[in-house]
C-alpha cells in the first residue's frame, strides 16, 4: 500500500478497517486495489512488478491523490479536508525505496 494516513496515533498494522488510510495497494498479487478510509475496492488490476516505479501525488488543494505508473493511472478523490496527511506505506511482501 502506498497512500496517506491522517491520524498517526491510530495507525493499525492492516490497512483494511483503518479509517485513516487512503491509498493504493501495491502488494498482494500485483493488483493495485484502492482503499478509502479503510475500505478496499477489489476491482481494477494494475500490475506492479519488481523494478516498476509508482508516483503518488498528494494534491491537498483538490483533496485527491493521483498515481502514475508506466501503464496506468489512478485517482483517489474526496480525501478528508482540513487534516494533515502523512505518507503511508504497507509493503506486505516487497522491498521498496523512495526515489524522492
Amino acid at each position: 500500500m502506498v497512500g496517506v494516513h491522517f491520524n498517526p496515533k491510530s495507525v493499525k498494522t492492516h490497512p483494511n478497517g483503518d479509517t485513516g488510510v487512503y491509498g493504493l495497494s501495491i502488494s498482494n498479487n500485483l493488483n493495485g486495489w484502492i482503499t478509502k478510509a479503510g475500505l478496499t475496492t477489489y476491482k481494477a488490476e494494475r500490475k506492479i512488478n519488481p523494478g516498476d516505479k509508482v508516483t503518488m501525488i498528494l494534491d491537498c488543494y483538490n483533496s485527491k491523490i493521483s498515481y502514475i505508473h508506466n501503464e496506468w493511472e489512478a485517482v483517489i478523490e474526496d480525501l478528508p479536508k482540513n487534516v494533515a496527511f502523512y505518507p503511508y506505506f504497507d509493503p506486505y511482501d516487497l522491498d521498496f525505496t523512495l526515489l524522492k
Binding site: 498494522t13 506505506f89 516487497l94 522491498d95 525505496t97 523512495l98
Partner: protein, 305 residues
C-alpha cells in the same frame, strides 16, 4: 606502494576486507569471503544481491590466482574504479565469469566457455598489459578475448549462502600497487551519495514536468472564461511554487511509526526491506495539509518467504 621485483613472486592471496566488509564476512585469515548481505543500491535487485569482494593488489601486469568458488557465483576482473555494492558484470568496470563459464560485461554476455567449477580449485591468469584473460580448469585453458582495463583487481561476486576461497597468488610483473583503502572508500562513498542525490533530483524534475503538463492540460480543457483562466493560472502558479520549494532531503520513513514486524529500514531511511510476508504500516516523517507533494516508490523485489 610499488614492488619493483622483476622475479615472479608467490604468496597466499588475501581479500581486501576493508573494501567490502559491509557485504561480506571474511574468515580463514582473510582468504575466504562469504556473502553477508545485499546492498541498498537503488538499481535492480540482482545487481544488489551480488556485492563485490576483491583482493588487495591492483595489477598492471601478469598475475595468476588460484581460487575455489562454492555452489554458485562469479569471479573475474575489476577496474580500479570498481564498486563494492553490486554485480560488476552489469557495469563497465567488471569482466565477470560465472562458475559455468559465461562472461558478463556491461550487462551483456560477451563470451562463453563451457566448464563447471563449483567446489573445485581453478586458476585465473590475467595480464592487463596485453589483454590476456584465461581460466584453467583441470589443466585445461579457456581463453577470453576481451579489452581489459590497464589496472585490474581480481574480484568475486556471490549471493546468499555462497562464498569464494583464495589460494595462491603469483605475480610476474614489475609493479604491484597496494591501494589506499580508506581514502578510496571515502571517495567512493561520496560519489555514491552524489549519485543517489542525482537520481532523486532527476526523479523530482521528471515528476515536476509531468505534474505541470497535467495541470496545464486541465486548465486548457476546463477554462470557459478569461477570469476563470486567470484564476486557474494563479492557482497553478501557487502549486508550482509550493512544489518547487519542497525540500527533497527533509522527508524520510519514520521508524518510530512502524506498526507490525518484519520490516527494516536502510540507514538513509529511504528504503524498506521485508523479511516475511505480512501487513505492517510505516509513515513518513512529515505531514502535509496544503500544497501538492509527490513521492515516487520503486519496487525493488517481491519475495516469496
Amino acid at each position: 606502494m610499488i614492488n619493483s621485483n622483476m622475479e615472479s613472486t608467490s604468496q597466499q592471496a588475501n581479500f581486501d576486507t576493508e573494501f567490502s566488509s559491509e557485504y561480506y564476512c571474511f574468515s580463514e585469515n582473510d582468504t575466504k569471503a562469504s556473502y553477508s548481505k545485499s546492498s541498498n543500491n537503488n538499481l535492480y535487485s540482482d545487481y544488489c544481491n551480488y556485492p563485490v569482494a576483491r583482493i588487495k593488489q591492483l595489477f598492471k601486469s601478469k598475475f595468476t590466482i588460484e581460487f575455489t568458488m562454492s555452489t554458485y557465483g562469479w569471479f573475474g576482473i575489476g577496474s580500479k574504479d570498481i564498486k563494492n555494492d553490486g554485480f560488476p558484470g552489469y557495469t563497465t568496470e567488471g569482466f565477470m565469469i560465472c562458475v559455468d563459464g559465461r562472461l558478463y560485461h556491461n550487462k551483456a554476455q560477451i563470451a562463453s566457455h563451457s566448464f563447471n567449477i563449483p567446489n573445485i580449485k581453478a586458476s585465473l591468469i590475467c595480464d592487463p598489459s596485453i589483454g590476456l584473460l584465461e581460466v584453467i580448469v583441470n589443466d585445461k585453458k579457456y581463453n577470453y578475448s576481451v579489452n581489459l582495463p590497464k589496472e585490474v583487481y581480481f574480484v568475486v561476486s556471490v549471493s546468499s549462502n555462497n562464498y569464494a576461497k583464495l589460494h595462491s597468488l603469483i605475480y610476474y610483473g614489475n609493479q604491484v600497487l597496494t591501494n589506499n583503502n580508506s581514502q578510496t572508500l571515502a571517495l567512493e562513498e561520496k560519489v555514491s551519495n552524489m549519485e543517489k542525490l542525482l537520481l532523486r533530483l532527476e526523479t523530482k524534475f521528471d515528476d515536476f514536468t509531468q505534474f505541470v503538463k497535467r495541470e496545464l492540460k486541465l486548465i486548457s480543457v476546463n477554462s470557459s472564461s478569461n477570469a476563470k483562466l486567470a484564476s486557474e493560472i494563479t492557482n497553478l502558479e501557487k502549486k508550482i511554487s509550493d512544489y518547487a520549494i519542497d525540500d527533497i532531503n527533509d522527508f524520510v520513513l519514520d521508524a518510530s511509526s512502524l506498526k507490525g514486524v518484519n520490516l527494516t529500514l536502510s540507514e538513509d531511511k529511504y528504503t524498506a526491506f521485508k523479511s516475511h510476508t505480512g501487513h505492517c504500516a510505516i509513515l513518513g516523517s512529515k505531514s502535509y495539509s496544503s500544497g501538492t507533494h509527490t513521492w515516487t516508490v520503486k519496487v525493488l523485489d517481491r519475495k516469496s518467504f
